[in-house]
């Protein structure tokens, strides 16, 4: 992926972003920047607004206040993909799910087949591409979702607690796939409630508390000495 592609939809800049849901301010005056190539983790307690911020940055949710710009544009670019907490797979084979996503982006024929086979083998599902996706195990389903994202060759990949309902081996598999996708040059933006996972993977941490950003800092610095009291409680809490 060349620098020309990077220039298209990055950096992602949220300025003064606010989201109100049923009278409650879910996000309040958020100013964050997603830098190219980095692995940015959005951390915070349940209900802090992590998933909402992720959706705003991906362009799935229009903010009620403020703006989001992708590169120089105000409309969401095509070079993005997202993996959800519960993998949403179609009633088709695993390979069919990947091919469907490619077809939506206009990739068909032998090129689609090549990218499908490649993505499935990279997530370790090369053997079971023909199996119906929705009867696979939870961990395998999430890997199909990752293969689908991989095949799209996105410049940014958003992941919303992708390991929240997986056991440790499946979690490790997902983490190493995310690492492999990042190694290829894809920018990663991910939410998690696992501090250990953030420590293993994050370059940058955005810490949310009650819809506000209390820290946006280098990961190693955040885990060593969080600035905000909320961040400290979060990091300390995990140590107890």
């Amino acid at each position: 992926m060349g620098d020309a592609a990077i220039a298209e939809g990055l950096p992602i800049v949220a300025a003064g972003v606010g989201v109100v849901r049923r009278g409650t301010r879910v996000l309040d005056a958020i100013d964050v920047t997603i830098e190219p190539r980095a692995r940015t983790f959005i951390l915070g307690a349940n209900g802090a607004g992590k998933s909402t911020l992720l959706r705003v940055l991906h362009g799935l949710l229009a903010p009620d206040a403020g703006t989001v710009t992708w590169g120089s544009g105000r409309s969401r670019p095509a070079g993005q993909a997202m993996v959800f907490q519960r993998p949403v797979l179609l009633r088709r084979s695993a390979a069919g799910n990947v091919r469907h996503a490619l077809a939506l982006r206009g990739v068909r024929g032998s090129e689609a087949q090549r990218r499908t086979d490649d993505a499935l083998s990279r997530v370790g599902l090369g053997e079971i591409g023909a199996r119906p996706a929705r009867v696979l195990s939870g961990g395998e389903q999430q890997r199909v979702a990752l293969a689908r994202a991989w095949a799209l060759e996105p410049e940014v990949l958003f992941l919303d607690e992708p390991t929240a309902s997986l056991d440790p081996p499946a979690t490790r598999a997902v983490e190493s796939i995310v690492e492999a996708i990042h190694a290829r040059g894809t920018t990663i933006v991910m939410t998690t409630h696992s501090l250990g996972q953030a420590k293993r993977l994050a370059d940058t941490v955005i810490f949310l508390s009650a819809g506000k950003v209390t820290e946006c800092t280098d990961a190693s610095q955040f885990f060593a000495s969080p600035h905000s009291s909320e961040g400290r409680i979060f990091v300390e809490g995990e140590r107890l």
Binding site: A78, M82, V88, L90, R91, R92, H100, L104, R134, V135
Partner: protein, 234 residues
């Protein structure tokens, strides 16, 4: 009591021996109802999917109207189609009244609301699950509809069977626009109505048995297909 058991025995033997009159009537019934089911699939499936996904002012009243139209009285539909197709009507020039085509038109009007309303329900449930994922993949409105229709194909099979069942078993519309002409527009339901009033209970009962068996077999088939699909595709 004697008449009933005699008629029943005669009816069974007609069914067993594939009586010519009986098979002709059953054949026409199935052909007409299949044709109207096909027509309502072509109209009702996209319409239902569109209603599930589209958001426009006045959507709720349209949905309520569509749901209410599932209960359209067949005789009223028959009357309206009769008026359209009769010599003096706007489509009178085509000479379709009292032909199987007229019956297909009437049945299609009758079951399009069933297919569309049930499709909307099925697709809307799927849309709730897939909406974010499809938007994330930049699926257009049209791509989302076709994706959802294909993904719910096994549920939609049951929807189409519900439409076919209604078409095959209604009598009010086809008797008005078809005219119940022997060998031309006589179907199972109109024949049962006529033969019963004439006192030919055996033919009426025989047709009744075939009609019930057909409806039952279709539903068993649909049920098994869905079970298989659920085990196979999740």
């Amino acid at each position: 009591m004697d008449t009933i058991s005699q008629s029943f025995a005669l009816a069974l033997s007609m069914v067993a021996h594939l009586d010519a009159r009986l098979t002709q009537i059953v054949g026409l019934s199935v052909t007409v109802s299949l044709a109207s089911t096909l027509c309502s699939a072509v109209i009702g499936l996209p319409l239902g999917a569109a209603m599930a996904i589209a958001r426009f002012p006045g959507r709720d009243p349209v949905i309520v109207t569509l749901n209410a139209a599932m209960g359209l009285p067949p005789v009223v539909v028959g009357l309206l189609v009769y008026l359209l197709l009769s010599r003096a009507g706007p489509l009178g020039a085509f000479g379709l009244l009292f032909t199987p085509t007229a019956m297909v038109i009437a049945q299609t009007i009758l079951i399009v609301p069933i297919v569309a309303a049930l499709t909307r329900q099925v697709v809307e449930d799927a849309w709730a699950e897939y909406r974010e994922q499809l938007r994330s993949l930049d699926a257009s409105w049209w791509q989302s509809s076709t994706t959802l229709l294909w993904d719910t194909r096994w549920s939609l099979l049951t929807v189409l069977l519900a439409g076919f069942g209604r078409a095959a078993s209604e009598v009010g519309a086809v008797i008005i626009v078809g005219g119940n002409i022997d060998g031309v527009t006589r179907v199972m339901t109109t024949a049962i109505a006529l033969e019963t009033s004439k006192g030919d209970l055996a033919l009426a009962l025989g047709l009744g048995i075939v009609l019930l068996t057909l409806v039952m077999a279709l539903n068993v088939g649909a049920h098994l297909t869905r079970q298989w699909a659920r085990a196979r595709f999740g």
